[in-house]
């Protein structure tokens, strides 16, 4: 938790010497609290005070970075418990488990297919973030071979799942030059694993079954000089997982409890009896930093990746598109004009449907403050006045020879008012859902 100006002031020399160029120590403290100056501008601050101030200004959840051939991933640095309080910043990394005991060719095939997998969602490219190479059942040389095989097939970062220090060493050597996440140090391997992580400059997971044991373990790793730590609280089910993940986030953010101020890794569905997708969905909404999934299944990954985008959307800034008159399928002056809002999910739902219907059309995107049709209408941001302005401002009357405007079915109630605002125009009420646009045009437009 950041210190207030007054708390910082108490740690300063309080001599008002002006060497920092501010008139008083209090003025400097206020600037410091606002992060407008740096502590080193005060030449007289004591070492002890400097240490306290540095610790207090560190983020409550450490930012941890992994890198692969050219892909990078950052997680952590979160500041709130609920997204509406500000936003969630760093999306949890989704990693696919790859078994090192499998045949090298099989590993290469799986990793290249999953690494190339991507889906477009409202103009955003969704993809997996990397691969977790599981040493279970393999020896040092076959683990190293598996890591090398995976790296030959992807540029994305890796997680090395190796509880045995000897295996971890082999994996790290094979991943030389990259920055994988090493999994994991347990109470009895802490010093060996810490030494390996330090030598190879990689972040290390601390794994323990209770929060107390976990805090003790990270303390040990911190004492050994490690800074980049990830937590595995070994969560299993829905309830215990939710409470444990929430407790860790609260301890970090509300109590500034350093020993648990790190991102968390989870393995939803590791126990095959559980509903892995729904567990992963919980972990996305509730605070995981790295999520290792068990199988490469687009039908399950696509919805999870969409959920991750949705939860991590900044609530202050809905994703918007530029208002304007958009051309779809090269429309001419006889093509239909359809109006919608500039909320990007709305825009892309409508635009994709029109595009795939094959109809040339004009899509008139009104400025609705980035809200969806019904929400914008309820908030007064998508009314007859705004739609009429969009028709006029974006030169619709010059682009088309006809005077027929299709409005979303959900705002059918606007048609009367719109006919008054747009004399000479016929207002047609379109379908309520984008998926019905093609059918509607077939039936209603000639």
């Amino acid at each position: 938790m950041p210190l207030t100006g007054l708390e910082i002031y108490k740690l300063l020399p309080q001599t008002n010497c002006k060497d920092c160029s501010y008139p008083t120590c209090l003025a400097f403290a206020m600037k410091l609290a606002a992060k407008q100056v740096e502590l080193k501008d005060c030449p007289h601050v004591s070492e002890e005070a400097a240490g306290k101030l540095a610790a207090a200004s560190a983020p409550p959840i450490r930012l941890v970075e992994l890198s692969g051939g050219n892909g990078k991933l950052q997680v952590g640095n979160e500041t709130v418990l609920f997204r509406h309080e500000k936003t969630f910043y760093h999306k949890p990394g989704l990693f696919l488990r790859v078994k090192a005991a499998d045949d090298v060719e099989k590993i290469k095939a799986l990793v290249s297919e999953a690494s190339a997998y991507q889906v477009d969602y409202v103009g955003i490219t969704l993809a997996l973030d990397g691969f977790a190479i599981d040493s279970d059942g393999s020896d040092a040389s076959s683990f190293a071979a598996a890591v090398a095989a995976a790296q030959s097939a992807t540029q994305k970062p890796l997680i090395l799942l190796a509880l045995e220090p000897a295996l971890a060493k082999a994996g790290l050597e094979a991943a030389q030059g990259k920055r994988p996440l090493l999994y994991a140090a347990e109470a009895d391997t802490a010093s060996e694993m810490a030494a390996l992580a330090k030598e190879h400059h990689v972040p290390l997971v601390a794994k323990a079954g209770t929060l107390e044991a976990l805090a003790e373990l990270t303390q040990k790793l911190t004492d050994a000089g490690l800074e980049d730590i990830v937590l595995d609280p070994q969560i299993e089910g829905f309830h215990e997982g939710l409470e444990r993940l929430t407790a860790i986030r609260r301890l970090a953010i509300k109590s500034n409890f350093r020993p648990l101020g790190f991102p968390v890794i989870t393995f939803p569905g590791r126990d095959g009896a559980q509903d892995g997708s729904l567990l992963a969905a919980q972990h996305i909404a509730k605070y995981a930093g790295f999520i290792v999934v068990e199988s490469f299944d687009p039908a399950a990954l696509y919805p999870l990746m969409v959920l991750r985008e949705n939860i991590y959307t900044d609530p202050q800034k809905p994703i918007q598109v530029q208002p304007g008159l958009y051309e779809i399928n090269s429309p001419d002056d006889k093509a239909p004009v359809m109006v919608t809002t500039n909320f990007s999910i709305t825009y892309f739902s409508v635009a994709n449907e029109v595009e795939s219907s094959g109809w040339p059309a004009w899509l008139l995107v009104a400025d609705a403050e980035g809200m969806s049709v019904l929400t914008a209408w309820a908030a007064g941001n998508f009314d007859a006045d705004r739609i009429a302005k969009a028709v006029k401002n974006f030169g619709t009357e010059e682009k088309v020879a006809h005077r027929r405007l299709i409005i979303p079915g959900q705002v059918a109630v606007l048609s009367g008012e719109l006919e008054e605002e747009l004399p000479g125009w016929e207002i047609m009420v379109g379908p309520r859902e984008a998926v019905d646009i093609s059918g509607y045009l077939k039936a209603m437009w000639s």
Binding site: F82, R83, H84, Q118, V119, D120, Y121, T210, L211, E212, A215, E216, G237, F238, H239, E240, L242, E243, R244, T246, A247, R250, L251, S255, F257, P259, L260, D275, S277, L278, A281, Q282, A285, K286, D297, P298, A299, A300, L301, Y302, P303, L304, V306, L307, N310, I311, T313, P315, I345, S349, N352, E353, S356, S372, L374, T375, A378, E433, A434, V435
Partner: protein, 324 residues
Amino acid sequence: MTVEIPKEKWAGAVREVTLGATPDQGGSRTKTITVGGEACMPFLDFDGKTARPPVIGVEICDRKPADWSPLLYQAWGEAMDDPGAWAKAAEDAGADLIYLVLSLTTADGEPNTPDHARSALRKVLDACGLPVIVIGPGQAELDNELLVPVAEEGKGEKLVLGLCEDKNYRTIVAAAMANDQLVQSSTPMDVNLSKQLVILITDMGLPLERILMDPTTGALGYGIEYGYSVMERLRLAALQGDAMTQLPMVVTPGAETWKVKESKIGEGVPEGWGDWERRALEWEAITASSLIHAGADIVVVRHPETLRRLRAVTAELMQPVELV
């Protein structure tokens, strides 16, 4: 090392609302369903108690709908031809309640009629023992025309009638008051609008114990984050003691997800979307489960497989756990 989890001391709790009435209570249901009573953010036992698991309802229609996903026709089969058979099938599949949606038109394309609505409700009540929520077709005049006779037909059953919206709630609330029913208050994803409508409804004299709050939600990928955060904010307000937000929340992820392209359509979609049926089921289950985590007291779904998956999740969320 001692680890002390920071706890919240909440001043308020969600009100308890009971749906349905058994024969000795003046109805004909084999059981009633109580929702609400939470004294913490969803399932966080260290702050307060979660009185009971969230309830899972199944949405059915008064006649076979024309535009549902083929996957849903496969799932329910011939039961969809008759609202009674459909309700019974939903009860057998393990539903806690029936969410009966009245159609805009009858099978021959004419506007739906009071007689048709009454008979659909009668069939549902006769065929199954679950509490029932009845939702109008969504056009103010027709909603009123159908829901008033429905309220009379189900007198004593403690039905929930909806949707009460800011532009049309008076007739529905009056019908609920005259026939001892409950109402569903529905507003478009906004904390203040939600409170406002609850105030207007209570101003008419309907007690808070007979109101469910429907904050509206979007499907995964289509605005779920708005509904999700509005629900979290409503629940936080309830726990902080704001009486007009202390009502159980009902949401309809089934209706939301099965109309989106990802669920409705199997052909001509990107390959990266994966297998259609499994994707569609994930879409409904992930949406519903996320809303349960945001504080939903009742989730209404369409597919029996989603019902089964959610049941396992809610059962587990109610298990006591050892922390620290």
